[in-house]
Symmetry: C2
Subunit: 409 residues, 2 copies
């Protein structure tokens, strides 16, 4: 089999952990598999590098910021390759520019555009274990880009897709995807299988175990993904296409996201194209708008509220304030004290009443709902941040997740 | 003027020092100069990275070792560029592969082959300060190489040569080139001007202030080099072509090199091509042989003694022992407890008796001479390591260097 593996920062946090990763990789190689291994920066290194840059200035040049933080993965890939070779396994470390992993020019949150596979295939055909520095790519002009937080997951799935690998294994510091965050819900259970759609909704709703762009790529290219622990041999969560055998649970998991912020524009004049004027500049900067609510007013104007990732609030707010002045909106407000709780499950497609049960549960616990959004297999509610844990625990219990799910045969 | 500047590791040791470097660079820019700034890794970083690799294995894979240590300069170049941009100066950090600085494939001690200047000139024509990660290059196949210790000096002079820069300034933690190591000879004085030839001999004889390959490049391409301190405004040592006005001092400086080791082959059969058999494999590995002495013996065999850098003794010895067995030499011996003291001066060309005065001075102080080598403007003696300081001080005094040289007008 051709397997792409990804090891996160805590899995390669020091030389001893890197040695253990090398041993695991070697075991796969001994079993006859072809291997591409994607590594993150050693735990803490990316933050250390970022803090150097932000100590210089609150707004470091994005091109140079990417050049700076990309060194983290470069170091790990070199160290893992040196370790494998010292153990007698032919290995070759490759950086984003060497493969090359082409991206667009959105520094600090670039998107992968194309991955030629000649260099990778050449190394594999020579029997080498290819060790890839995750999180990084290169623009057509040759500048280093990074893919944003969680970017190494995306690197791994994108490589698996480009190489048509048989499996993509994401090794991390948890044993898989859980019905809820075990730090909040002690009865949370590992979910043995999930469909891409469910994982996508869980990831977009705040489950941090797997980056959302990685899930999207896996879904589009039908890459089977196995999320599992570096520190144990236990099977984790397998993410594949939905099939007949997959148990259609009503709700697979409850998740939450604190990286939310709200921006409200009051008194927006009712003109054609006003929404494009507001959301155009935000989209151009690559900022993701999640929920949008527009409310008509008796005076013909409208109030508009939407959410963005909290980390981008400052940037988004600046853009919105400029637009508000141009279009003559009355005022702009924002809040960071919100969070989003969500329930996700493929079974929702065929069962009515899931959303109303969620609203009823939250109401019973005194949690006010500010915004709602739904998809075929997800319901999300924006609530006051202080109720986050309460809401997650209440929903986990209300949907019967406090029992361990049945393992499939 | 187009000026290439190089700042060493102690000059960029922390963010505060990098800020000061940025201020100095900005001052040059304000004066209307075009600037290419080459930086080393922050002091201690290269050693930290190397020790990680050597903690894994005593013989890390050279390709990955270069990929690892090249991150040091990548970090500094990004941080300096961020600092300059934060101060309002357009800047662009460029890595070895981006320029590109093409080298051969001798990992860990690669030699620069070619530097296309299009990318550099493009940035300069846009008014940007170009910040270059020193010490690193790229093979035609796209692998990262490093140029060995002192490689950032070579990067700076090679860039100055490729760009036909007006001046190459080497900023370091000393004020210039001295008549002797001030840590050993307290009366040592800064030398205001030196010819390339003198600097070359000083560097090859152990003066560490400027890398020898950098001096060679400067001489070939006639790049004026100014070695000076990052931490003061005082003029340093200017290295240029020898001219009429340059004072022809008999001896410009006394220097020493402890990075020496001796290998002796006894009973080498007198066959055609035996020297090639011994020195061929050593040269192929890029190990520099300094002095060679061959002594005939009554039995028709020969004894051969030569010196190599102490850091390469282990590797050289392995190669020599293999050859010794093949050609049937009697035995191989080696010693690390030697050092080389040298006197250098352009005035030697026209003055006889300098060498004999050196031998006489050493003899008077009881220092036994093991090997001698001379050039037009240098005399070197290999001696027992323990006499190093004594020999340097004695020679410094004997050749009248204890007086400060006259500054030129």
């Amino acid at each position: 089999m051709l397997i792409v593996q990804k090891y996160g920062g805590t899995s390669v946090a020091d030389l001893e952990k890197i040695r253990k990763v090398a041993q695991r990789v070697a075991r796969y190689k001994d079993q006859g598999h072809d291997l591409v291994v994607v590594v993150s920066a050693m735990a803490g290194e990316t933050d250390r590098l970022l803090s150097l840059a932000y100590e210089i200035t609150p707004e470091p040049a994005p091109r140079e910021l990417d050049m700076l933080v990309a060194t983290g993965e470069q170091v790990t890939s070199a160290l893992l390759s040196i370790t494998l070779q010292a153990q007698g396994y032919p290995a070759e470390a490759l950086l984003g520019y060497q493969i090359p992993i082409y991206t667009d020019e959105l520094f600090t949150r670039a998107r992968i555009q194309e991955i030629p596979t000649e260099r990778l295939r050449k190394g594999l055909s020579q029997g080498k274990i290819i060790v890839v520095a995750g999180f990084q790519g290169i623009t057509p002009e040759g500048d280093i880009t990074t893919l944003g937080r969680g970017g190494s997951d995306t690197t791994a799935v994108a490589l698996a897709a480009a190489l048509r690998a048989d499996l993509c294994e994401i090794f991390t510091d948890v044993e898989g995807v859980y019905t809820a965050d075990p730090r909040i819900v002690s009865q949370a259970c590992k979910i043995p299988r999930l469909s891409y759609e469910e994982m996508l909704e869980l990831a977009s709703a705040g489950a941090k175990v797997l980056d959302i762009r990685a899930v999207e790529l896996a879904m589009v290219y039908k890459v089977p993904v196995h999320v599992r622990s570096t520190f144990s041999e236990a099977p984790g969560t397998i993410i594949t296409e939905e099939d007949e055998e997959m148990e259609k649970v009503l709700v697979s998991g409850v998740t939450y996201n604190r990286n939310e912020a709200r921006i409200s524009l009051y008194g927006v004049p009712d003109q054609p194209g006003v929404a494009a004027k507001i959301f155009g500049p935000i989209a151009e900067r690559g900022i993701l708008v999640d929920m949008i609510i527009q409310t008509g007013r008796p005076d013909g104007k409208a109030d508009l509220t939407f959410t963005v990732p909290r980390t981008t609030l400052r940037e988004a707010l600046k853009l919105v304030e400029e637009v508000a002045q141009k279009i003559g909106a009355e005022r702009v407000e924002s809040s960071e004290a919100i969070s989003k709780v969500s329930i996700v499950g493929a079974g929702m497609r065929t069962h009515a009443g899931v959303a109303s049960k969620m609203f009823e549960t939250l109401a019973r616990h005194g949690v006010n709902i500010m915004m709602i959004s739904t998809s075929e297999i997800k319901v999300s509610c924006v609530i006051d941040e202080k109720y986050t844990e309460l809401a997650v625990r209440a929903l986990h219990e209300a949907f019967g997740l406090d029992q361990p799910p049945q393992e499939e045969k």
